[in-house]
Amino acid sequence: MGLSTFKGGIHPYEGKELSEDKAIMKLEPKEVLVFPMGQHLGAPANPTVAVGDKVLVGQRIGEASGFISANICSSVSGTVKAIEPHLTTGGAMSLSVIIENDFNYTPVEGFGVKRDYKALSAEEIRNIVKDAGVIGMGGAGFPTHVKITPKDDNAIDYVIINGAECEPYLTSDYRLMLEETEAMIGGLKVVLSLFPKAKGIIGIEENKPEAIKKVKELVAGESDISVCELKTKYPQGGERMLIYATTGRKINSTMLPADAGCVVNNVDTMISIYMAVCESTPSIRRTLTVTGDAMNNTANVQVRTGMSYKEILDEVGGFKTTPEKIISGGPMMGAAMFDIDVPVTKASSALLALTKDEVAKYEPTACIRCGRCVAACPSNLIPQKMAEAAERFDDETFEKLEGMECFECGSCTYVCPAKKRLTQAFKQSRASVAAARRAKAAAAAKK
């Protein structure tokens, strides 16, 4: 049997050799930690503390403000210094709770207490995950309690761990699969306990043989958990691609994985679920890859959320030369930063510094209709036609061309020989169409 995969995709330079052999290093923050209230998909959280309040490790400082929203907990003990907008990785300002660290790391009551998930009801588990503020740590930051709460628990056939880590350069999920394998499998078992008919699948790209071996050893005795080896190809870890590769099922942009009987969680998310449920520890840490050819040293680090990227960079060893581009996340979907004094959030995955910016190297030229974008698109779209529509702000045509099925993976832009900034144009059109749809829905609701 061949390796599981999907149609389309690309093979960019992986760059994983820079950091894949570096064991996870724990770093501690300095005096000031920043907790943006909007670090997940959905409505930002509302601060539940006031300036001057004393807070403890694991204490809730932001409360979910809607169904699709998530709690935010403090990763240190100390005093709330300010509640004000602060720069975030995406370049936007977000209302943030700023805490002065007292370096005592005094936990809230009950923090770290061991629990047996088998003694908990499904509802209790879901509430724990919600209270702990667990969100999807693969990048999108979708609140996990929503993901694990489908309409019908019996309709879920598969719980899938996304261990593809298809973004170039990133190795933190790989290190976690090697170093915290038990916790990851533990998280999977917790989620499986919610769904009576579900089987567990751990999807890992074949470029991580050590991880595949380690995880296989650990699940050898489990009849309802299996490892699915995936072809190394970007965007293999895209949710729709992963579900298709591991189960043969397809979903589109209007569906959730649960609509195809699947629940998908990233490696770090699974570990966070385990820690929340079995170790009474909310989501307050993040594992990141610090890498790139502009770095003196590369590393995989584990930090408390709220710590500044700048502190991480200094601890790891700083820049070798002035980078041309600094990215939060991977090179395909990460956000370029103009200032690295921004906090690590639950959705952060990497600090990548590159000496060469391949975007600036090329000026876009005329499309020659070569069709490379068509071959690369995992969503089976015609990016060339979508770009024509996007460039003339023709949202109607863009929608007809199924532009809303694009998930902005960037594959088309990567392969384009004319170096057209396709994904950038699609982001704009997609946002515009989504806004129009919301406005239409709101107008309809008013009537």
């Binding site: 590159l354 600036a360 490379r372 779209l381 015609i382 990567y414 900034r421």
Partner: protein, 320 residues
């Protein structure tokens, strides 16, 4: 420090690297053409035609952009490729000034006035070839003597290509046609030289086999069914090796700008060109029809694309 939207990495392929690959792939065909027609005393003229076509194609683009105050795009090498393809469509005996005129027509009329690279609806080299065939019919079919016994009756200089001879009822040497030591345009005679270039293009992933294979197979099926020589292998192979079918399929029908971008559309496109080529060859006035079949089908591309849009991933999925 730079800030831009994701993705932050790019593949090494550029328009000019692709065009360079096409030019490299055309080299065996053109070199063979020079050698082949040198046997008839037209080697130097064939070489000069190639040079003239490239120089005038690039020069026309350069001057047009200068005059129109547009950015200079000759670096993308697409005009070089147009020049090379036009050259391989010309007889080795052609006066140089006609090649120069054809080059100017290809770039100015077929490409630049429609907006330059990517905007032309017709293959510039083939558009120019057809313009020249209409304007200078005798000169454009003045192939060096190969089948002196068969008269095509246009001009005393004109002699038949293998395919014209075949149409007139003569027997042709298919092996010679495969190797290319026959008469015709500079680049159409050698199937083996074309295939060397084609293998290079496929290996470099510059072209896919969808268009060339459907085009060639359709033509052969059509000829087999309607050619009146059912079961005659020599006749079928002569149609495969003659009349620029292979060079047209791999180097002209695959032109990105003037072929469909949808995978299914490329298959439809190949089939339509194949049928038209068959009709032109069997029922048309001339023995050949590849060029016209391609440029006519070029015009159908927007329509073909409209009806061959792929279904987006997961679009058929229904909620459980």
């Amino acid at each position: 420090m730079n800030v831009s939207a994701a993705p932050h990495v790019r593949s090494k392929d550029t328009t000019s690297s692709i065009m360079r690959d096409v030019a490299i792939a055309l080299a065996p065909t053109l070199i063979f053409g020079i050698w082949n027609f040198n046997r008839y005393g037209y080697g130097l003229n064939a070489f000069l035609l190639i040079v003239i076509c490239v120089v005038f194609c690039v020069g026309t683009e350069f001057i047009y952009e200068k005059l129109m105050k547009k950015p200079n795009t000759i670096g993308d090498l697409s005009a070089v490729v147009t020049g090379l393809i036009l050259a391989l469509n010309l007889p080795a005996t052609l006066p140089l000034w006609i090649a120069a005129l054809g080059s100017i027509f290809a770039i100015l009329v077929v490409k630049m006035v429609y907006g330059g690279l990517g905007q032309n609806f017709m293959n510039p080299a083939l558009g120019a070839r057809c313009f020249l065939v209409i304007s200078f019919a005798a000169r454009m079919t003045a192939f060096p003597a190969e089948f002196p016994g068969v008269s095509v009756g246009v001009d005393t200089v004109a002699t038949a290509t293998p395919l014209t001879a075949l149409k007139a009822g003569a027997t042709v040497d298919v092996f010679k046609m495969f190797i290319g030591t026959t008469s015709g345009t500079i680049g159409e005679t050698s199937v083996v030289a074309v295939l060397i270039g084609a293998i290079y293009l496929v290996a470099r992933k510059v072209i896919s086999l969808r268009i060339p294979v459907t085009f060639i197979v359709t033509t052969l099926v059509f000829v087999e069914l309607f050619g009146g020589h059912m079961g005659d292998m020599n006749y079928l192979l002569a149609h495969l090796c003659g009349g620029g079918l292979v060079v047209g399929a791999f180097f002209m029908a695959t032109d990105y700008v003037t072929s469909p971008i949808t995978p299914m559309g490329q298959i439809v496109f190949g089939i339509i060109i194949g049928i038209l080529t068959g009709i032109f060859r069997l029922f048309g006035g001339s023995a050949e029809g590849v060029s016209y079949a391609i440029i006519i089908t070029n015009l159908l591309v927007p329509l073909i694309e409209r009806f061959t849009m792929p279904k987006a991933f997961g679009k058929e999925a229904v909620k459980k």
